[in-house]
């Protein structure tokens, strides 16, 4: 149904098949945060996931890392269903798949010292034989992320936002993961600090062969850091392609509108460009439009769009879209 074949280079480390996550709201209604996503993430790549509020991208990230149980579909890591793992298998997955969170304020326990925060994974999985070994590993991790040994016995509130994010990265690295979901890791940071953390992440990827799922609403950042990018709208993927390809030749009207809406820090470019500003507001994820969900705001909407669930098709090699009737 919504399958996608690998591109040929690199095996898939993670497969997501028709993933759904619905939250109950009230008696009968349910919020369809994620409603049928299928994709593959290849070893060593960075897959970007973009979309605006309510598109479900954060929920996807949390389901992958097993913070939520899916309402439908499956997530396979190395061929194994991650949500069926129990006991020791589950523990292994905790090490292999890690997460970096968005809010530097809330993602670190304010009552814990930095070394305890960073070493939590080490403690849980018994990765250090002695107190000294534990401390050495903490120091090493802190230095890897650009902090220093003296920071180990400080408390989170003594650090700036950028530094706190680095501590979060160190925490994730402590268990030696293969795959990291980065959920808006730089959105809460000042622009000049964002670049620090982005560079750090890229370097870590090179040094440690990491695979990333990079979730963000900031298209410029996503384009820069990702190899391939998926665009989400109201719980579904509407387009997925190589980063350069997506930005050069966006096919889906929502992707086009999204790209068109992003202001670029280049005044002449801005004054010359033509913008397609889409009207209207985001429909409620509790009651999404039938058929093609974007049709209520789409500049080229056709009647047929309401009646047909648009199929997920490979329009060009490696370039997938939710093929709405308006394309025909």
């Amino acid at each position: 149904m919504m399958e996608q074949s690998p591109n040929g280079n690199g095996r898939a480390i993670l497969e997501v098949k028709d993933l759904k996550k619905h939250f109950k709201v009230g008696r009968r209604a349910s919020l369809k945060a994620v409603d049928g996503i299928s994709l593959e993430i290849k070893e060593g790549e960075t897959l970007g996931l973009v979309g605006e509020s309510g598109c479900g991208k954060t929920t996807v990230g949390r389901v992958l890392v097993r913070l939520y149980e899916p309402s439908g579909g499956e997530v396979l890591f190395g061929g194994e269903d991650v949500h069926r793992a129990r006991g020791n298998d589950a523990k292994i997955l905790n090490r292999k798949m890690q997460m970096i969170f968005q809010d530097p304020q809330a993602s670190l326990n304010p009552r814990m010292v930095v070394s305890d925060i960073v070493a939590e994974g080490i403690d849980i999985h018994g990765l250090a034989g002695s107190k000294k070994e534990r401390l050495d590993r903490v120091h090493e991790l802190l230095e890897t992320v650009g902090l220093s040994k003296e920071h180990a016995n400080r408390f989170p509130h003594e650090f700036s936002g950028g530094q706190r994010q680095r501590i979060g990265v160190a925490r994730a690295l402590a268990v030696e993961p293969e795959f990291i979901v980065a959920d808006e890791p730089v959105s809460a940071l000042d622009v000049s600090i964002q670049a620090q953390v982005i560079n750090l992440m890229r370097q870590l990827q090179r040094d440690r062969d990491l695979t990333y799922l990079f979730i963000s609403h900031d298209l410029s950042v996503v384009k820069y850091i990702s190899d391939r990018v998926g665009v989400m709208y109201l719980g579904q993927l509407v387009e997925l392609a190589d980063s350069d390809e997506l930005y050069a030749n966006p096919l889906h009207p929502y992707t086009r509108a999204l790209l068109s809406a992003v202001p670029v820090p280049d005044p002449d470019y801005e004054s010359e460009r033509e913008r397609t500003v889409i009207a209207g507001d985001l429909p409620s994820p509790v009651n999404p439009p039938s058929g093609c969900r974007f049709r209520t705001r789409c500049p080229q909407a056709v009647e047929a769009a309401a009646h047909v669930d648009p199929p997920w098709r490979e329009a060009k090699p490696g370039h997938w879209i939710q093929a709405c009737p308006c394309f025909a």
Binding site: E52, S53, S160, G161, G162, Q163, D190, V191, S192, I193, Q194, A195, Q196, I198, N199, R202, Q203, H217, L219, S220, V221, K223, Y224, I225, S243, D244, Y247, A257, L258, S260, A261, V262, P263, V264, P265, D266, P267, D268, Y269, E270, R275, V277, I278, A279, D281, L282
Partner: protein
């Protein structure tokens, strides 16, 4: 107290501090700028730069309990806004100078119908009758792009989406056709597609009503899209100011270079790392001596930490404060130029 005829607002050497339990925090340390009639001036900076405090100071909306005005003047018309009493300020806020804040959720009174919030302002400042004000409120909602205005006027804020609420906030702000509109991060909390709508709206309304706009933001893309001139703030001071074209294409201060170099442009070369600005902004309860950017500046010289440099003028509008422009300083080239990447 004379203002240049082109200027609608003149801020001179504004100095604002806050007394907190950790001591005195110097948020604004000698900021001067002009706002011309009909233009959009963007004040850009990161956290701790003092841009929001500057904007609120114009409206005298800083918390009275712990705000200390250490000096400066804000000239508007014949008055220095810093010297006016609260009653007089109330006559200015709304009809003469209006403000739009970042968070549309908290800017509107959740217990009051939206129409009433507009009508209040119209009745108080323009002396309109109930009927006139009602009609005008509907017109305003239509003007800001809210469909079905006659019905929507009777709705409560929670019945609007984020983008729509921001439009309502703009409608309230523009109700009395103020001379100046201060927008403090008006689109930061909104999705990108909604942001585009709101920015378009602001541009349109500005043309129609002829309001001068001060736009506070950290997003350089937004600046490039809507602003005429820009003032870059760092640690309570303005470090560079000029037209948008001048500042983006010919920046003259390492902080500006750093900002522009650290943003990934759409056609950035993905194989090259971004050029970040190392370190973090300074602690404003103990601001550094001299140029505040010294600790993070790759071009820092010994003179930089002794005193804040004079402004060097490059054109009618373009000024920057950096010791690198002193004739005795070495020549340096900025790391990246926006025009080159295109």
């Amino acid at each position: 107290m004379e203002m240049n005829g082109d200027n609608i607002l003149e801020v001179r050497d504004l100095q604002i501090s806050f007394s907190t339990y950790a001591g005195e925090v110097q948020a604004v340390r000698g900021v001067s700028f002009d706002l011309r009639r009909g233009e959009t001036l963007a004040i850009v900076g990161e956290s701790g730069s003092g841009k929001s405090v500057t904007a609120k100071s114009i409206m005298r909306l800083n918390p009275t309990a712990n705000t200390i005005v250490r000096g400066g003047e804000i000239l508007f018309g014949q008055e220095d806004l810093l010297k006016l009493g609260e009653k007089q300020m109330q006559n200015i806020r709304g009809p003469k100078i209006a403000m739009v804040f970042q968070d549309p959720m908290t800017s509107l009174d959740p217990t009051m119908k939206v129409g009433r919030q507009i009508i209040e302002s119209l009745k108080k400042h323009l002396g309109m009758s109930g009927r006139e004000a009602s009609k005008r409120a509907e017109e305003l909602l239509t003007l800001v792009g809210i469909p079905n205005a006659e019905e929507r006027v009777k709705h409560y804020p929670h019945q609007f989406s984020g983008g729509m609420r921001q439009r309502v906030v703009i409608a309230i702000a523009l109700a009395c056709e103020p001379q100046i509109l201060i927008a403090d991060e008006p689109t930061t909390a909104l999705d990108v597609t909604i942001q585009a709508q709101i920015l378009d709206l602001l541009r349109e309304l500005q043309e129609k009503i002829g309001t001068s706009v001060i736009l506070i933001t950290h997003d350089l893309g937004v600046v490039a899209s809507v602003a005429d001139r820009i003032a870059v703030m760092y640690a309570g001071k303005i470090v560079e100011t000029g037209t948008v074209r001048e500042t983006f294409y010919d920046p003259q201060m390492p902080y500006t270079w750093g900002l522009l170099a650290s943003i990934p442009l759409p056609n950035a070369d993905r194989s090259r790392d971004l050029i970040p600005i190392p370190g973090s902004p300074p602690d404003m309860s103990d601001p550094p001596k001299g140029c505040p950017f010294t600790a993070r500046c790759p071009y820092a010289m010994r003179v930089c930490s002794t005193e804040f440099p004079e402004y060097t003028t490059f054109s009618a509008e373009h000024k920057a404060a950096c010791w690198l422009h002193h004739p005795m300083a070495p020549n340096v080239e900025p790391p990246v130029r926006i025009g080159d990447a295109r």
